[in-house]
């Protein structure tokens, strides 16, 4: 199966969809990871690849981009609904 995500930086806890992912699709492109998407994830949107507890940083490009508004599970679509957009 072709990759449907890429991880930009080794420290990232989210991957980026490189094609449209349907809810229930396997996430392919991260070595050793066996998870499925919890929701439809459009291309260029983020999917969690490890659990991010509530209030903990979401990391992309190896850097903090926002805090988890709620507990985020691997396979969850990550966007404004579960990231605090406030600068912290």
């Amino acid at each position: 199966m072709e990759n449907n995500v890429i991880v930009i930086h080794p420290r990232d806890n989210v991957a980026v969809a490189i094609k449209a992912i349907k809810a229930g699709d396997r996430i392919v492109g991260v070595e050793g990871l066996d998870i499925v998407a919890d929701a439809d994830i459009p291309p260029s949107h983020k999917v969690a690849i490890i659990a991010i507890p509530k209030g903990k940083p979401v990391i992309k490009y190896g850097e903090f981009i926002g805090n988890a508004k709620e507990a985020i599970r691997p396979g969850d679509w990550v966007h404004t609904h579960n990231i605090n957009t406030e600068e912290g």
């Binding site: 291309p43 260029s44 983020k46 992309k60 850097e63 903090f64 926002g66 990231i83 600068e87």
Partner: protein, 384 residues
């Protein structure tokens, strides 16, 4: 191994060998254009500045014009002025002549009008063209190369494909001793702490952070609630959740090496490595500042597709997706959309390094083939 360039008397190295004919003030543009029509081998460059501006803008314009003349890709320079303007042709010429390259100037009010000046300018230009034609490329080290980074007409894949690819190339060049200039302060919003931490010293870190924070404040004062549009609904549709995430996707172009210096618009760096220049996000202003700083090449990422180039620099266009690469193939040099198709960022960056090497050795970029020569000097104040 380095590249084959034109060695200049000041120790710099050009990847092109242009004769630049430029106005010191817009009133001289007609003469510059006439010379350009009669001697098509020159790069005839006009702009809108040179007079009728406040002191801050006179400073920026002067620095930019001198920087463009000093750019290593310029083998010889002719400056055309009117006579009564703020920015005088002899002053620009004298500042550039310090590099040791051939520099001439003409003043229309002293030469007896535009026809006479153009006729004499054509003769001078032909001599300068013959002079540079005799120069040969010689081997130069990569540490002589400085690249300007730019993104314009970005899309949701810019921060996923093209910008990380360019970032890997930036890291490679800095590793070879060269320089990259990251500009567009607007697009660094929200990253003050991140970039400050990456500075080579506390002092540089403070400069980075002050630059970004003062810019954020200015944008907020000017735009009020509209400042929130720095992250637009379109960006959010593309999956960007925070302004910081958007900015990180832009600044990844600069790679991951320490920031060695922060410079003003159009100023010449004194350090090698990753340099930050304060410019607006508007592509043409930003490219003009990078060229004035001495960059010999610009690498430009785009997702929507923009054709712009620069008169004296090759501009390499990196498309973020295959659709754009194919739809505007006349304007695009590399398809970073291959990252979406399974190629690694490292592999596509390797292709970019090869393309860059060919271009600095003389292969024309698409923007050069298309003669997409555009230039605008940034201003901060009103015109009087």
């Amino acid at each position: 191994m380095g590249f084959m360039g034109y060695r200049r008397p000041d120790g710099s190295a050009g990847v092109r060998n242009h004769v630049l004919v430029i106005s010191s003030v817009s009133c001289a543009n007609g003469v510059v254009n006439t010379i350009g029509r009669e001697v098509p081998e020159v790069k005839a460059v006009t702009h809108t500045e040179g007079c009728g501006r406040g002191p801050a803008d006179v400073g920026i314009s002067m620095r930019t014009l001198v920087g463009l003349g000093k750019n290593p890709n310029v083998g010889a320079l002719l400056v055309v002025g009117l006579g009564c303007e703020f920015i005088k042709a002899p002053a620009v010429a004298a500042a550039v002549a310090a590099t040791g390259k051939p520099v001439e100037h003409m003043v229309i009010q002293e030469r007896g009008g535009s026809q006479k000046t153009a006729r004499e300018g054509i003769e001078i230009s032909k001599k300068l063209v013959a002079h540079v034609a005799a120069q040969k490329r010689e081997e130069c080290n990569w540490d002589k190369l400085s690249i300007g980074l730019e993104c314009g007409g970005s899309d949701a894949m810019s921060g996923v494909t093209a910008n990380p690819v360019v970032g890997a190339t930036a890291d490679w060049l800095v590793g070879q001793g060269g320089s990259v200039i990251l500009s567009e302060t607007t697009e660094m919003a929200g990253t003050a702490q991140i970039l400050a931490r990456r500075a080579c010293s506390m002092e540089v870190g403070e400069k980075v952070s002050t630059l970004i924070i003062s810019h954020e404040k200015k944008v907020h004062e000017l735009l009020g609630p509209l400042a929130a549009l720095a992250i637009s609904p379109g960006n959010m549709d593309g999956g960007l959740s925070t302004i910081r995430e958007k900015s990180l996707g832009c600044i990844i172009k600069g790679g991951t090496t320490p920031i060695t210096e922060v410079i003003e618009y159009g100023a010449a760096p004194t350090k090698k490595g990753l340099i930050i220049m304060d410019t607006p996000g508007s592509d043409i202003f930003s490219m003009t500042g990078e060229a004035a700083a001495g960059c010999q090449v610009i690498i430009f990422t785009t997702g929507r597709g923009t054709p712009v180039g620069f008169p004296i620099l090759p501009v390499i266009k990196v498309a973020t997706n295959r659709k754009l690469f194919e739809a505007m193939n006349d304007d695009m040099d590399l398809n970073a959309g291959r990252v979406i198709e399974g190629a690694s960022i490292k592999a596509v960056s390797g292709e970019l390094n090869e393309l860059l090497t060919r271009v600095v050795n003389g292969e024309k970029s698409k923007a050069e083939i298309n003669r997409q020569d555009v230039l605008s000097i940034f201003t901060v104040g009103p015109a009087f």
